[in-house]
Amino acid sequence: MTLLRELWRALRGMLETLGAVVLFLVRMLAATPAALMRIGLVVQQVYNAGALSLVIIMLCGLFVGMVLGLQGFDLLQRFGSEESLGTAAALGLLKELGPVVTALLFSGRAGTALASEIGLMRATDQLSAMQMMAVDPVRRVCVPRFLGGVIAMPLLAAIFSGIGIFGAQLVGVRLMGVDAGQFWSQMRASVEIDDVMEGVIKSCVFGVACSLIAVYEGFNSQPTAEGVGRATTRTVVISAVVTLILDYMLTAVML
């Protein structure tokens, strides 16, 4: 009975949090038209979330692609079809690794930055000061950061996949001796626009989820050093778990 009661309490807590997150999203969406009137704030946040994450995204994309090239070559060689390496790398990156790894890296770099920045603003009374100046902090602080993340994520995922394909080509063609013409022509022949769109849809959904989690955790953090630290940790952990769950659900729907 005690176990059941604990489970029920945990489930109820999760549902309450989910409800609060949805309400927060609705509040942000209601404030979005007003926030879009000041597009400069959104552009600034696209720069913060996107441009400042470029180095880590490109570096990781390159090495993920290179590993994919090595592993793919090893696997395909066993079936005598190493010329399909381009197709395998492209599909793997565009449909799966690009959006997912980008989301994980995004939550680790930009998500934590968002959560800690907003959390610190709460801890130092900056959000209260805005409210006292009759400025809605959700509209002024949260919405531009949320939109910045939502816009930046698909762009980062596209860059990740592009660099990753380049990395796979680098290893497969330059190192392992796969024919360059076969590598690119098979990729062009096999990769459909639907495959690309699957990656775009996934990265958009992950962008909404990861940005929402980061902004929500920061905005609702306890106004203490410990509270900000906890919000930052929760952002990474929850974003990673939600990304992987959503990935499975989206893959199941779009396959």
Partner: protein, 283 residues
């Protein structure tokens, strides 16, 4: 003056036309602790009113209630003729545009320099041309003596300077009410003197009403026209600083003279000392 003796006519729950803030029968509890038990306060237009009391009596909470950053459990708060409990978000924000608040730590926006911090409310609420914004901001910064610090970032300011910038920001929209939360806390004597002078100057020159939360007896006796002393969730004394200084009431004497023990006990409520020492560990 007996506790509440002076407070009685002030706190009879009937707000006069001279009152810009009227708090009636306010009840508020948080974390299972009752902070206010039927608080009545009236703040008169155009005066500097000090809210004093020992630490933990809820002075800052009272400011949060007056600005509706938190909601009371019971009672009403009338600010400039508007019942706070009946206002929707738009009406509340419209009212807040007529109020300025100085937070204990300044609460400056750390991404912006001093100029942009002061310009922030103007940029958010008006469509004034840049030249006019510059003119207004420099005027306000000049009033607090920090025109030369316009390009500094908040991290480069001392505590006193940060509060002066926050004061310039609080008056940039020409508010009717200025609220100060512990404006003297942690300041050196010179900065404290500057803030005292500025609060008085702003109040008189701009014709606004000032509400100052503080426990600095000396500064408040120089500055305030009207003082409320809070303890145990209610007003225990009210009047001019001079009246409070001559009050025979024990709780007032303890606070004004800085006595360690008295009606406000030195010890936080605890079980019997001897029994606790002799008790087995964990019991």
């Amino acid at each position: 003056m007996a506790p509440n003796a002076h407070a009685a006519p002030e706190a009879n729950g009937v707000a006069g036309s001279d009152d810009i803030v009227a708090v009636r029968d306010l009840h508020y509890a948080t974390s299972g602790r009752e902070i206010f038990k039927g608080l009545d306060i009236r703040i008169r237009r155009g005066l500097v009113t000090a809210i004093m009391g020992p630490s933990g009596t809820g002075k800052t909470t009272l400011l949060k209630l007056i600005t509706r950053q938190v909601e009371p459990d019971r009672g009403s708060i009338i600010v400039d003729g508007r019942d706070l409990g009946r206002l929707n978000r738009t009406q509340l924000y419209a009212l807040r545009q007529r109020m300025g608040m100085l937070f204990q730590n300044g609460a400056l926006l750390t991404d912006f320099d001093v100029f942009e911090n002061v310009a922030f409310p103007l940029r958010e609420h008006t469509d004034l041309p840049e030249s006019l914004i510059r003119h207004i901001v420099l005027t306000k910064l000049h009033a607090v003596g920090l025109r030369g610090a316009a390009t500094l970032m908040p991290a480069e300011l001392s505590g006193g300077m940060a509060r002066r910038v926050a004061l310039a920001r609080a008056i940039v929209m020409d508010p009717k009410i200025l609220i100060y939360d512990e404006p003297f806390a942690g300041l050196d004597p010179i900065s404290m003197g500057v803030i005292v002078r500025l609060v008085r100057q702003m109040n008189d020159a701009l014709g606004i009403t000032s509400i100052v939360v503080s426990h600095d007896v000396h500064e408040i006796s120089i500055l305030a026209d009207q003082t409320y002393l809070l303890s145990e969730g209610t007003v225990v004394a009210a009047g001019s600083p001079q009246e409070l200084r001559t009050s025979p009431a024990e709780v007032v004497r303890q606070f004004m003279d800085g006595l360690a023990d008295g009606p406000v006990p030195f010890h936080y409520p605890a079980p019997d000392y001897q029994a606790q020492l002799l008790a087995r560990e964990g019991s």
